[in-house]
Subunit: 199 residues, 2 copies
């Protein structure tokens, strides 16, 4: 059976990457989304093991010590990490697995798993990104400016990703990622078994 | 204006690459097809400058001497070549240009223009390739076997192409190439100008 592919999707806060990933998974229901572990508090409506695995700081430290994470990072005072075992299990079952993670973690995954496909989702412009951040109810202008500052830094990391998708129209961004996944499978290094079969 | 992209499409005789390219151009009418020069005789119904530029051996030699070809090759006793100037003109106009050429020429283009996107079209199996060759009226079994032998050698060159598309169902092969062209445009090296605009 064909092994699944690891897909890293990153992008600044407010760019709409959660919406893009959700729409992508509706179109490609066989893709799996990795669930991260976090030390942050559970919010109302969240379920342990669905949005996140909610763990204590001690458990998180122990998982680091046991090298259980594909990546882990600190973000606004809390820790986030991708447990490696469930991802590898899904990949072994032939499922493509999406990691929707911050650039800190994205780069770690690319180093640890050079075969991962990496996509950075960018906004059409910083003006639009600012509008989206304000539009989702971030009324504290200082926080918006801090997020925009953070986004600028993340854009400096973007050139280390394989692909950059501009999330202007949602439909187009999703189709872009579908095209990337289809084209990646056609790369010669993944197709040579077909030539062997033919010969 | 965005510069066009050079797209090399090769594949064995009988694989249906002409049909794939024709169907692709119907879906993507802004793509241009390069016209080759050849020393072979014009066949009934062919028009000079449409299927080929029909030139004498002397003219062909002179074009080689003037380094006017993007690639040139010998095939079954005749010479074929891609004049570089018209291709560069179309690229400068922002058009993607397809070169539908044999592997001999394909490798030359990849060396001369490392930014070219290269796609090798393969058959689902040699059995199918044989059937297609016979089905298109090649009743001389020895010629079919010679073409299959030639195809086997071309498959040894296929790993030097970026992508391998299996022409099983025509629709799928065309969609594969569309996905490749879409994904190639999203590669980070082609998208960095967008990040600069955003910053």
């Amino acid at each position: 059976m064909r092994k699944g592919r690891l897909i890293v999707i990153s992008g600044p806060s407010g760019v709409g990457k959660g919406t893009v990933v959700k729409a992508l998974m509706e179109r490609e229901p066989e893709i799996r989304l990795s669930v991260s572990a976090t030390t942050r508090d559970m919010r109302p409506g969240e379920i342990d093991g669905v949005q996140y695995y909610f763990v204590s700081h001690e458990t998180f430290e122990q998982m680091i010590a046991e090298d259980s994470f594909l990546e882990h990072a600190q973000y606004v005072g809390n820790r986030y990490g991708t447990p490696e075992a469930p991802v590898d299990r899904m990949l072994a079952e032939g499922r493509d697995v999406i990691l929707e993670i911050e650039v800190q973690g994205g780069l770690q995954v690319m180093q640890r798993r050079p075969d991962a496909i990496s996509v950075f989702i960018a906004a059409p412009s910083f003006k639009v990104l600012g509008e989206r951040l304000r539009g989702r109810g971030d009324t504290d202008e200082e926080k918006v400016l801090m997020r925009l500052q953070q986004a600028r830094t993340e854009y400096l990391v973007a050139p280390q990703y394989h692909y950059i998708v501009i999330n202007d129209r949602l439909e187009d961004a999703v189709s872009d990622i579908q095209a990337i996944l289809r084209a990646e499978a056609l790369k010669t290094e993944h197709q040579q078994h077909l030539l062997k079969e033919a010969l």
